[in-house]
Symmetry: C2
Subunit: 553 residues, 2 copies
């Protein structure tokens, strides 16, 4: 089993050997952002680059553990002393996730949301016993996988303010079985993508779920949040790849899913997917794998306008010709991408001569058998050309692929220099998508424009479906150093109200967490919330399972 490095406490990337003793995880601004891009940002945003480093990790404030001695003893009896931790570093590392607000808090030295202890069960049975014990002891349980949530999925906010433990799934991180004829692999929830791919590669297989958090997020976390990855247009959303799972709850263990398919009543597996820890802890997953594709071809295209690009992709979707990866950047994101790319001067010239100088970049990726990739690419190219697309070739596609996991690292650098950087996402039908796009941009601009500051709002379509597509939005703005949290909360509120009002979904792949839960009722209706409450009440009558997320108060 390969090593699974821990995340740094105040930002993104693998933790240093000295528990992040260094202040400021980000790389140097000058090294990370070309001069033209820095100038562009300064001008667009009204931003003066300035050092705003995080406090030293040693200075992060953390209260004493509130776990009672009785509870600690019970947990040690269950799991052994080596799997129950109340030390500062263990607790700090499981505090919150990696949203902009999480990072702001951690950089300011606030870890008041850290769990009171960290426990690490090794099996489904141990996890079930742990949940049952915590239910009796009145101890809140927050499952901890990779800690990469960007929606406050680890907030651990309990209305009754009971002590909480993070259930670290790192001990359940192995590949347990491979059923080769059925293309099924059984894994522990704490396993991450890189380790899974490494194990599968030995058999000529791949799993292929590649969200931006791929290096650190866990498979159990993907299941709990209904994740989508960069290749999900082709291989399917994470939920499509789950053939079954085991969910330990305070009331017992559920074995869900019956591959390849069943009509035996409602889909209970679909209740566990996206349950975000409120029903229990996922302790095992059966996942669909596939042969490693012999051919992989990524290329760039450009469109004169955003609507033209959308229309062309909609045509691909309609004719079942969507690529495995499809990402259409709007004009603002395209401009920023070109400014950030070293050596993109030739590309900019090409685009200008084609009249696409202020256009939209599209990255498409195809994977599979050579005959099939060729046929799909040819048929799709014809539709893209009909839609006004201009083929830019492989260099653009390969460059995107090379940098696909870089954005979260860059965020640390930008935050070190006084910037607000956050993303949000939604999805809508093809009919509603243009309205959603306009509404979100307008809301963010209105909320974040004040005192000479203006935000940069960059969007891309990140996943295509026959019925619609997702929209991924990156916001950069000069940070309000006095009230940075309020600055973002206001913008997020405005954007969420706007996208829901225009017909978008609350979240396409980041989940609900603590951040989105005030809006859940607008998404599923009051009776939908009541159905979820009834399920939770049955499985978790004491309400100890991740009480701060998903369900509104």
């Amino acid at each position: 089993m390969p090593e699974q490095p821990e995340l740094t406490i105040q930002g993104w990337g693998p933790a240093g050997p000295d528990a992040d003793g260094q202040a400021g995880g980000g790389a140097d601004l000058e090294a990370a952002v070309p001069r033209t891009a820095r100038r562009y940002l300064a001008k667009e945003l009204g931003w003066s680059p300035r050092p705003t480093p995080p406090v030293a990790v040693a200075d992060i404030r953390l209260g004493p553990s509130r776990l009672t001695e009785e509870a600690r003893t019970a947990l040690v009896d269950l799991l052994g002393a080596e799997n129950v931790h109340t030390d500062r570093e263990s607790r700090l590392r499981r505090a919150g996730g990696k949203s902009y607000l999480d990072l702001l808090r951690r950089r300011e030295g606030d870890a008041s949301d850290a769990p009171d202890a960290v426990v690490a069960p090794g099996t489904t049975e141990e996890t079930a016993a742990l949940l049952s014990a915590c239910s009796e002891l009145g101890v809140v349980v927050v499952p901890f996988g990779g800690g990469t949530s960007v929606v406050g999925g680890l907030a651990g906010i309990d209305p009754d303010d009971r002590p909480s433990v993070a259930v670290d799934l790192g001990r359940m991180a192995s590949v347990q079985a491979l059923d080769l004829p059925s293309s099924l692999v059984t894994v522990g929830p704490g396993l991450r993508g890189p380790a899974l791919e490494q194990a599968l590669a030995a058999e000529g297989l791949t799993f292929g779920h590649l969200p931006q958090s791929w290096e650190f997020a866990t498979l159990g976390g993907y299941a709990a949040t209904r994740s989508a990855g960069q290749s999900s247009t082709g291989v399917g959303r994470f939920g499509d790849l789950v053939a079954g799972l085991t969910l330990a709850t305070p009331s017992g263990v559920l074995e869900l899913g019956h591959p390849p398919a069943s009509a035996a009543g409602p889909d209970l597996l679909g209740l566990a997917l996206g349950s975000e820890g409120i029903l229990g802890v996922i302790t095992e997953l059966r996942l669909r794998v596939r042969p490693k594709p012999p051919v992989s071809s990524y290329e760039g295209w450009s469109f004169r306008t955003w609507p033209a690009g959308l229309a062309a992709i909609q045509q691909l979707a309609r004719h079942d010709l969507l690529p495995d990866v499809v990402r259409l950047s709007d004009q603002d994101e395209t401009r920023a991408t070109l400014l950030m790319a070293s050596g993109a001067r030739m590309l900019r010239t090409t685009l200008r001569t084609r009249g696409h100088g202020e256009g939209c970049l599209l990255v498409v990726g195809w994977e599979g058998l050579p005959t099939m990739v060729r046929a799909r690419m040819q048929s799709a190219a014809s539709l893209l050309r009909d839609g006004g697309g201009h083929r830019l070739g492989r260099r653009v596609g390969e460059s995107w692929k090379r940098h696909r996991f870089q954005a979260p690292y860059l965020r640390d650098t930008l935050m070190d220099a006084g910037l607000l950087v956050e993303t949000l996402e939604t999805a809508a039908t093809w009919s509603a998508l243009p309205t959603v796009y306009d509404a979100v941009r307008r809301a963010l601009r209105e909320s974040l424009t004040r005192d000479g500051r203006r935000p940069l709002v960059m969007s891309h379509l990140s996943h295509g479906y026959p019925t619609g597509a997702s929209l991924y939005v990156t916001v950069v703005a000069d940070r309000d150093d006095a009230l940075p949290i309020q600055q973002w909360l206001g913008a997020k509120r405005a954007a969420t109200d706007a996208l829901l009002g225009a017909g978008g979904t609350l979240t396409h792949h980041h989940a609900v967490g603590a951040v989105h839960r005030p809006w859940l009722e607008r998404e599923v209706g009051p009776l939908g919330v009541e159905v979820l409450r009834a399920v939770k009440q049955r499985l978790d009558p004491q309400g100890i399972c991740n009480p701060g997320v998903l369900l509104p108060d």
Copy 2:
């Protein structure tokens, strides 16, 4: 809106103008079954063809309606007198479904399972009001779409023996809206496939869900039972094509599903799909449509053995090359198919000369854009040949397509001549499928072999998935005229125990109904059943919604 003909009361096919006054819906045995096939059946089964006609419809026994005058008045106040029926024919037409046991009962003149009244709401609001009223009145509600259930989905068995009404959805059977860019159509639950296809054809679109019950089943019924159709390997199971639906419950109305995709909590749409009426009534559906495929190509292949055929299809599945339609018949089904086909002599000769004389027939169907169909067919053909397949050409494929909806008609004829005819189905991973196949066949043979009788058990793989496939089994045997119901119940029990024991699912596409509910706990576990009960309790606290199905007592 095209006419939607009603089903005959005692069998399959459109009802006659005189309310099925004629006895025996089936065609003449000699006309329907070639002589060689009749001889083969007589010899294999120990069967003596004999007339066993149904009683005349006029002689079917039906008790008086138990609906109280208070309840009737309340329903008339809600829906109008023209939408509340207690007459004999209305009740008879909504009695039970079309399983072998349903037909046995109806043919013997027993309609004790008929509802006490038939009501027909016209809108979601009326349906919600109806459910709320019935909840207060203590009246059981059984949703009625096409009445084609083969698992007792309309059994209406109430432990408290309250009066029951069938909620006929025939008034909610229109195409309400078409969102062309998003490939979405909004329909009423009472609409059937042929009418939907007719409406879509005008726009160059198709829906493409084609189960054997296509002529009579409704879209709401497909949703309530998690149906799969003959082309589901390609276009997806019915559930995959539902973007959203409206579910009226005694506690209010749920609007579920947010196309194209969402990560906003657990999948509540998946709870409504397959709920079989126990949570309420589906009153509207938003379905995914697609352009009518310009190319459609069906062809036959043969394999020397069942395992060779399975292995070849598994290779297609593994490499994402499954056809839109894939049906591999085992040797017993292949032999019967060839005996039934007029003009198959040449085909039989071809197979013998290839050494496939006792082999397995495979039908594959491809639909889509010409380039893509060509590429898929070529790549697949290469794998099928590698697996020992011999291409028989289009005639076999087209012939299957022509007769794709015929089997239920033939069943009436065979039942008229003293035969037991029933089907069952399951699905399993590729690893488990051979064991499931053997186990089911053995169980049926052991149960149905006695007193010189032997069953004919014919199977085919009917849907392929990357992780496994479904198995569809047709059983024909000489009927035990003294105890026909017990004869089948024993065989069904043995087959179900066997397939679950070997790792199959309780049902791949027929649903649970009254027939399978004793086994639901084996499929989802006791806690899984409890979760469903908790949801039902919240939405249907008085337990009026289709109490006889899905959940065990």
